[in-house]
Symmetry: C2
């Protein structure tokens, strides 16, 4: 299947090294999601939602590895790529949940993003109550610097 | 960008009409996520997570509409497609959060799925604590038959 960008994400992160590993820092970062003019009609009613799911093309990922060494993992073990959010997956699709501040025309002002500046946008979805689950087990991430959003 | 399937989802839903609108019914449905042999190495460590994010190709969606009439919406208004989870979006990508019961070889047994049987799988991601947000506003869905997961 072929995918086409519907917009582009403008973020404070110019390179992968700039993206914070710490969840609380991620949750503060502000960004602008620019939707291309052809798709603006699809934004109707979006401003009613407090959170959105952004689907993006992690365009700087150049290859695929089935096991990876995530930067947050201090145990130095190779983890299955599907047990990580590494961009080096078979399809370079990223999903990022963001808080919507406001919509101005074809621009969405959002908070809590961990994407590179210039990342192509593939889809926007409303984040729904049934997307909220009680996380019981986080596998190899247990005890590492990740935290749940409180608000 | 071009995407390739990494597996296929086996669910109880043979047609769109079979998929429950009610969130609590969705959360009970069991399904098998079959990963193709080439990608099985990437499943290492996945069994440690209680929830996964499945990214799929909503292969039966044939076109794109920028405004849609969601079946759950009794107001009869046209909603922007990005304010809905309709498959008729510009890129027919779906995201479904599921609870992982167990992994057996290349098969993941999961609960809480609302996908058609035979849906091509594009990606599997661990559902992380920072994916859990407190939903404050659900726009046009306010007061409709959706509910938050309690466990």
């Amino acid at each position: 299947m072929e995918m086409k960008p519907i917009g582009v994400v403008h973020t404070p992160y110019m390179s992968v090294e700039n993206i914070p590993l710490c969840a609380s820092e991620k949750l503060e970062a502000v960004a602008v999601v620019e939707v291309f003019p052809d798709y603006v009609e699809g934004l109707r009613d979006v401003e009613g939602f407090s959170h959105l799911m952004l689907v993006v093309h992690m365009h700087e990922a150049t290859g695929t590895m089935l096991t990876v060494h995530p930067p947050i993992d201090d145990e130095g073990k190779a983890r299955g790529v599907f047990a990580t959010r590494s961009p080096m997956r078979p399809n370079h699709i990223g999903v990022s949940i963001v808080e919507l501040d406001r919509v101005e025309g074809h621009n969405l002002f959002v908070r809590g993003i961990d994407l590179l500046d210039g990342t192509p946008l593939i889809d926007i979805k409303p984040y729904m109550p049934y997307d909220v689950r009680t996380v019981i087990k986080v596998g190899w991430l247990e005890g590492k610097a990740i935290s749940q959003d409180d608000g």
